[in-house]
Symmetry: D2
């Protein structure tokens, strides 16, 4: 059996990398570049990138119509994503597009709208060691990941994380400063699969880490639409007969 | 131990009852009146009503601040609930206010915003018998309800119902026309408890049914806030020491 | 990419088919034969059958060691499955073997042990029409299944079904006699995926129905192990240092 | 309204306290004594204790019939709990008795049978600081508990913890040695509510800690049966008529 490739759009705010020397030195091609470069060698994926400062926040209808799985990273410019673009993305997710929300994307319009909660959390500038524990060793998203991923220095994201109870809890992070965090969570919304994955502060080389890249790759494959038409809704007629037949 | 009463606000769109003779004859005091009258005899509740055509859609900040549990019914005027009112309600739910969403309230701004999905479903005008099966006999919401509630004639609401997977599935309805429906579902969002309960077409005397009243009463008690302060979020300092003490 | 085939063992009690003329006429090769014949044309599967009256209840260690996904059907002889065989199957599921439990298998030692509950339900001899509603149109198990599967005559299985809350609720059945039933449910236990699917009374030609066969095929593919080693448990040393590195 | 008291049985293996000087000095009245003493001042509870070396493992039918909520602690003698006693407890839980499983009770016959999994975990002798993070600030079990409970020295219990996905994840623990653990989890099985709470190594004064006592008190109140008769199962007749009535 051969399958058509999964069409992945790697979307990035792309501001830190242009304005901050430290971030640029880590991600000279942008965070989107690093993620896309990690995905491109895989022949089952067809990868493109998009950024906030493109037309229609980089999330125009045509791009979305040709996207099976969207990954998003944003931080300081969530409010500059247009209402229309955020709404389009949410609608596409309900239709079946997969969505991978990375790091500070927890505070994006898109994620908050799909979750219905504030998605707030606690945080501390990068001064912690983080261990991302694998709680779901049989899940497609953790394939090839061992017991945990260790990040020697990262921003702390800690509980309470104001999200709906995840459908599946994949990762829980430990921080040397004393906090824990539900760092990998899945939800289904409409026909779309959503994965939130917390690593990825802009001044740490997180997206160059092979295990982080592997999780994102796994998540993209997991989140691809099954290809079913969306359910139909609305008024339906009564049936002619429901008498059992022997 | 004595407890302060649960402050309940019964909110209703209150249009059908004023414009439709059939509906008015069933609910001369409005749907809100019927629900409030069923709740008022219980001394642990303090019941008030509010309707769409009051100031600020009947959902002003002061009313909400003094509401522990809000019940909502709406159908033909969802769009007339102001954005601000819908937003205020959602914010209060995340802070801890309980929310009971009744029948066609599935399509309200408030419910759709908290769920993050379309909340669409299939339906048919009242020509079905409905049996609301109790799947959670040990849940506070089903206290005093037996195996099922039978409605001899009701509007059909059928799957697929486009909601997030409920935290708890309380009722599943059977319809004589061949459909099933997740008719009683709970979710937690932020600090707030949410219960969706599907019975209540405006031309059927559903809210006069003692078992339906009992479910709403149970749900109000279940949904009351625990009274905790909302979680705090934001930047936190690193701890001084986390060395174990023996 | 090519994958090794999924090794499927179709296990059947195989008593009704030998003792009951009606059942034999429907399943001349046994229920296991019908299911296996439906799976065999698919080149990604390697299918064998096993039955209760074989050595070690047909569930010996070697068979299980070479099984990726096991389907089980039993009804009148649950107690004749040896304790050791039941225990072996449960252990293999926790290690990662997929398990599909069919119809009256709800009352098997294996299923009850994995669930921890009585798995009791209500039932009525075949005199109902059944509609198996698809509540999870985006799930791998419902691929190619439309809104529902209709069985013109089947045994009624009704709520309350005494199971743990499913991880995923895939199907809910409607019966013409007025009942509903959670007829398709998934759970993860240890590293193993479990799917319960209720259709399949022995005197109805359920396993010849193309959509039922499709669900079982989908479920087998869904339940296959990811191939990870089981998690390790026990005493672990303290780490040398957990100081962050900059 | 007044309610009958909740009848609580605090069951303990009660071996360490008799054989180990360190443990005895911390718990001169046994772990059960410490827990019972913490619960007794509350007038809504009626508290008794039971231990393994009493007749029928301390879990005879009459005791269980008069128990609304059972708490269990065991460690080195799980196998000495009789099969019959374990089976009786599980049956009573399915009927509606609440069950609080403490610490090394994760490896008890009772808990493993109700969960259906190995309930294995990773551990390390007491040399860690533990922070038990409250992930469910609106849950009855966390009432009066702030963001976390801190234990200056405790045995480490770490993931992977081989349990079914909890219905509700209440606490996640952080350990100074680098691990995380789902330390407070709820499940419903049959009509019974189950809470697992991991603190309580026998050589640490955990059950003298006011917040730990508060969690156990809250859990007992949460786990009390609703008082409904268990659901009935078995063969049911077809209805006379299901035609809608207008």
């Amino acid at each position: 059996m051969t399958f058509p490739p999964i069409r992945v759009t790697v979307w990035n705010e792309y501001r830190h990398e242009r304005n901050d020397e430290c971030c640029r030195s880590i991600y000279p091609e942008g965070i989107h570049g690093a993620i896309a470069n990690a995905l491109r060698p895989h022949p089952d994926l067809l990868v493109r990138t998009a950024t906030l400062d493109e037309a229609e926040s980089g999330l125009d209808a045509e791009t979305l119509a040709q996207t099976d799985v969207l990954t998003i990273w944003g931080h300081i410019a969530h409010n500059e994503v247009s209402e229309e673009a955020a709404e389009r993305v949410c609608k596409r997710v309900l239709e079946g597009m997969g969505l991978i929300v990375l790091h500070s994307g927890h505070d994006s319009k898109i994620f908050k709208r799909l979750m219905g909660t504030s998605c707030s959390l606690r945080w501390r500038d990068p001064e912690d060691r983080e261990r991302i524990w694998n709680l779901a060793p049989n899940h497609p998203i953790t394939q090839g990941i061992g017991d945990y991923i260790e990040l020697p220095l990262h921003e702390m994201y800690g509980e309470r994380f104001d999200i709906p109870a995840p459908d599946e809890l994949i990762f829980v992070s430990w921080f040397s400063g004393g906090e824990v965090f539900r760092s990998g969570c899945t939800w289904q919304r409409g026909n779309g699969k959503i994965f939130y994955f917390s690593p990825g502060h802009e001044t740490c080389p997180i997206y160059h880490h092979p295990q982080i890249q592997r999780v994102i790759l796994n998540a993209v494959r997991w989140a691809k639409p099954c290809g079913y038409p969306p359910a139909t809704f609305g008024k339906v007629p009564a049936p002619e007969s429901l008498t059992p037949n022997s």
